[in-house]
Point group: none
Chain length 220, copies 4
């Protein structure tokens, strides 16, 4: 299970016991969102699942908004930057790096946590500033990584075009969550779909031209 990396987010929780409680709270909240959706995320439910009383919960988080902000931050953190290692591994070719990272992402996307969490985040981001910002932060990092990978694989492509292509790849990957994610309609096709996806991106990265990106296709 993906571990929540609790940063120094909370003012409270100076002691070890407090830290443990905060971790329990955030883990409870995370699992609740995943299992029951944001609608099921009540302070009472979080407290119960954390094994504490609601009064103590509000000792650590004076408001649900604060808790949610910390939760989103903590979960987002657990998805961030893990690819640095792969990208720094020069025993791998850029292609190998890219394929490795994509394979990881696509496999993770089938995990219950990922399938459960992200759609909630996307929905939330439409109406909650916090969620929107955290999501923007995560995808910005992922986008940066993709821009860098595209540059390594096809240095001849201009920066702006790399950015555009990266948006497509990023969006395309994430979209699969709802279709081949955990217990989704086409989960059975997860593997071949992933193959197509990787094949498609590699070929796009290698061969896409500035003209193709900027020429309207609806005048075929």
């Amino acid at each position: 299970m993906r571990q929540l990396k609790i940063r120094h987010l909370q003012k409270k929780a100076s002691s070890k016991k407090g830290q443990a409680t905060v971790t329990a709270i955030l883990n409870a909240a995370r699992s609740l969102v995943i299992e029951e959706g944001y609608a099921g995320l009540s302070m009472r439910a979080i407290a119960t699942r954390s094994g504490i009383k609601i009064g103590n919960l509000t000792y650590y988080y004076a408001s649900k908004t604060e808790l949610l902000a910390d939760l989103v931050d903590a979960v987002i953190q657990s998805y961030v930057g893990w690819w640095d290692e792969v990208m720094a591994d020069d025993t791998l070719s850029p292609e190998q790096q890219f394929v490795t990272i994509l394979t990881f992402i696509l496999e993770d996307l089938g995990a219950p946590e990922t399938t459960g969490f992200f759609p909630e985040l996307w929905a939330l981001a439409n109406h909650e500033k916090n969620a929107s910002e955290a999501m923007g932060y995560l995808y910005q990092l992922e986008h940066d990584m993709l821009v860098e990978m595209i540059g390594r694989l096809n240095p001849s492509l201009g920066l702006e075009d790399r950015k555009i292509l990266a948006v497509h790849i990023l969006a395309s990957i994430e979209g699969h969550t709802v279709f081949i994610g955990y217990r989704k309609k086409w989960t059975q096709y997860a593997k071949p779909v992933s193959n197509i996806l990787i094949h498609s991106y590699l070929s796009l990265i290698r061969s896409l031209t500035h003209e193709e990106i900027h020429t309207l296709q609806n005048s075929v």
Copy 2:
């Protein structure tokens, strides 16, 4: 504005006035979900926005679950099958048909309604059976359409492979909602990203082979 096509879903609403009320209710509910998210969808808010009293709302919908079921069905219906006309238009080549449909979809994805509604639906589908089914129904139709289009564009591809490819295309398209949809982070790139996407699908459809689909990519 996308019109809600009210099927004969409710037992009540036999009269014309009743039909009008039901339409008002569902439109109110729909706009509420889009504007405030599922969390903001309360019976009270729906009644207020419909211009009726809550007592009357429960006359038409005895429970919120029922209402939600009808709402999801109605909204889904409004997205269904509009492509039949395009596909039946034999003055257009298969390529033209495909590009026309995709362009429509991608433009719609930038509409506030679409950007607002679908992430809520995806989140809901993780926990509500009806939402999951309705979503499955919609995407099944869209998937069928894509399988048919792929067949027209590349008849040499086997049915199973067409299905797999269609899943990728479907997932990829939908994923863009959260990235280039209404007021999203990369909305500015909507046009070139759409170009890449269409280009990519056409080239995949035309050139993808059975081997590429089923050969593991992580052994590059």
Copy 3:
């Protein structure tokens, strides 16, 4: 017991049953303030004392603020304008009218309701706009009445001086609440103190001059 005159304050409560409920609510709230103070005025306590459930209470009063506003208005109304009759009674001399009204006021001030309610209102008025306004409204009417009475008793006194004198009389009367009101320290002296008070006002009204009002006394 002073009856609460419920004006058409509430949007809800169109039916007779609703009216009765609203009256019960306001009477419960009023007795609670009197018995336990504003601190004891909780929505739960009001509901219990009204014999209804809290859900129904919020049906009539969506917020405590609204309820408080109505309560203050209703109570204030029950204290307002009753003196008109006396002042219109021309079988009484102005002195008799004045004494009659003052006697009423001073007797009322010994009632548990009055002794209990007004100090709460004064305290509340320091921090709640509603209370402050309602209080201002009541005392404005009482002040107007006093100005009129002073004019009848001593027509030679200018309007501004009458107003000033009326403020003193008004303030002086109200101050007695806390000293000779219900179960107060000097309640035993209520009668002679009232005598002094009436005697004092009459003599002030009759003999006070513009110079005495506006000459500094601390240079005696």
Copy 4:
């Protein structure tokens, strides 16, 4: 600013630091009551404003009731007995002493602290024994002083009558708090109203007879 005179009220606070903390606590509580009313007086708010943690606050005051008792006592103390000096000053005539003291009182009554605190105290006294007692203590002293002053100004008046007259004067003065106090409706008239008041009391004291005090006025 009126200084809180901390008597030896608490068992704790033997050290100098403890004394300072207690003073900080009571000052915080006092300013809170004045600014936000008794309703805004929470242990948390007091702790925050004192710059200490709530755990430490309960070290000094195990319960809110205790703290309130000390607070009321301390504030009351700060209003007590300051007139002794004036009354002992034999360079002043009794009239001058009386006018001096009254002027002081009336000016103080316009201070935010006084206008803010006393109405809360009066309300509290209706339901809290300690508040009632402390208030009784303060007003007893003030009453004693007035009885003494009346005696000096009109020795021919019997003790009981002096007491009765003193009650009227005391009540009358206090009543002005809510009308010409800090930011009250008739604050503009504070000066002339004060003049009338002093004038009125002096003339009452000098000329009031036993018969006038005890003859019913409503038989005019």
